[in-house]
């Protein structure tokens, strides 16, 4: 029996990119359905009635929402290759801690940076602090997952396509403050096809951000 895997996607979404990377790493064939977040499809509303958000993974008709929950599901079901989580419970707890930290911080703070309102300076400082914290956690490792990418790498790397937008809207350099993190992002894209294929070009994200800002009356 063939597995039916569908991803409800929105191409600029860092959360959806995480799922694409994971599916790519595991070699899973899936159908990608683009959603218009200003005009959500009946399928999305049916599959995620509580939050009405993407990404949603639909596996043989059953929906799973929330990207980190989806990653853990994918890792458990398709456990034949490319483990995303360590097998040791303590290492696992640390990986989940950092993935959760990225969830709590990066999207919200990044948004305040590109929106460019009165709190932008504060948001820039907070963003740099978070990225520096993550850079310290990376340390001298090749990847957060060690020798190979793991859940923390997958959780964070999509946001790096947004760095150009944060930097341009905020007029600052992330590489200047976090050179090791930027190098790590390059390494992920160069060595992992699942990453380079899932991440749109930073300029495409920037174009999207500018369109969104116009729509929100911010430019």
């Amino acid at each position: 029996m063939e597995d039916e895997v569908v991803l409800l996607d929105f191409w600029p979404s860092s959360f959806a990119m995480r799922v694409k990377i994971a599916l790519g790493e595991k070699g899973i064939k899936y159908k990608c359905k683009q959603e218009d977040l200003f005009n959500k499809s009946p399928l999305l509303l049916e599959m995620n009635p509580i939050h009405k958000k993407i990404p949603v993974l639909i596996h043989n008709g059953k929906p799973i929402s929330e990207s980190l929950i989806i990653l853990q599901y994918i890792d458990q079901v398709w456990n034949h290759k490319s483990p995303l989580l360590p097998s040791d419970p303590y290492q696992r707890s640390q990986a989940l801690f950092w993935a959760d930290y990225i969830d709590k911080k990066i999207y919200g703070i990044g948004r305040r940076v590109w929106m460019g309102k009165e709190d932008q300076e504060e948001a820039k400082e907070e963003l740099m602090q978070c990225l520096k914290t993550l850079e310290r956690e990376l340390g001298d490792k090749l990847y957060f997952g060690g020798q190979n990418i793991g859940v923390v790498d997958v959780a964070l790397v999509p946001f790096t396509t947004w760095f150009y937008s944060y930097e341009t809207c905020g007029n600052f350099s992330i590489e200047a403050g976090c050179p090791k993190l930027v190098a790590w992002a390059k390494r992920c894209k160069e060595n992992y096809r699942s990453v380079s294929e899932a991440l749109p070009h930073p300029l495409q994200i920037y174009e999207y951000v500018m369109e969104l800002k116009k729509r929100l009356g911010l430019v």
């Binding site: 599901y73 696992r92 707890s93 801690f97 914290t133």
Partner: protein, 234 residues
């Protein structure tokens, strides 16, 4: 089963700490209880063991600290597997649903509850109350789906979602009394009302339930501290 290296840094009033203790009770794991005073400056131990958030609970196993209550619960479930009670289901899909609803409690329900507790104006409180009540109705629906006719979200035994939501029952009662309304009502959420009774009476839970009057008193002090802009955010 006695474990010499198991410690919980927390406070009697915190629902997040309560979650960890319930999980340890379920697994029959003995632990050292270290009390952190939420109304006082943060202790050295807390600042050292949770430098990122500086919040309780912090769980120590063989001196290694683990933070964030739901992550701690998963750790406990993975390490102590000899007990009959599994906190998360083994089926991947059911596991994902348990995680989803626990995340809902933490990301949607709890923040609304907190806003209701610390609401500075009548308007704030009214808006928060509506959100909380809506949340209980959503959770009533989730209970129907997950319990499959049994007593708990976890089925026959208490599980991840039971612990995540059940740990809030003390505060739900206190905040409800403050608003002069039953937040988990017979009218809107009859199954949750029944579940709350079963949960509170459970062996692993009843000894860590906070005294409601003591909690109400603490709630007033905490609210005052938060409104002064000095407080911790859990």
């Amino acid at each position: 089963m006695a474990e010499s290296n198991v410690k919980v840094l927390g406070t009697w009033a915190s629902p997040f700490v309560m979650r960890v203790k319930i999980a340890l009770h379920l697994k029959s794991v003995l632990y050292e209880d270290v009390e952190e005073d939420l109304l006082a400056p943060k202790s050295e131990l807390l600042l050292k063991s949770n430098p990122v958030y500086k919040k309780i609970p912090v769980f120590f196993h063989a001196h290694s600290p683990i933070c964030e209550s739901l992550i701690i619960l998963q750790y406990i479930d993975e390490v102590w597997t000899t007990s009959a009670s599994s906190i998360l289901p083994s089926d991947p899909y059911e596991r994902s649903q348990s995680r989803f609803w626990a995340a809902y409690v933490d990301d949607k329900f709890f923040p609304a509850l907190r806003r209701l507790l610390i609401g500075a104006t009548e308007e704030d409180k009214k808006a928060a109350l509506a959100e909380v009540v809506e949340g209980t109705v959503v959770l009533e629906g989730a209970f129907g789906e997950l319990s499959k006719g049994k007593a708990f979200f976890g089925g026959d035994n208490i599980g991840f979602v039971d612990i995540a939501l059940g740990s809030l029952l003390g505060w739900i009662e206190v905040i409800g009394k403050q608003c002069e309304t039953k937040l988990v009502s017979e009218a809107k959420t009859p199954r949750l009302v029944q579940w709350a009774d079963c949960f509170s009476a459970h062996e692993a839970v009843k000894d860590v339930l906070p005294d409601v009057d003591k909690l109400a008193d603490f709630g007033l002090k905490l609210r005052a501290k938060i409104l002064k802009g000095l407080a911790p955010t859990n």
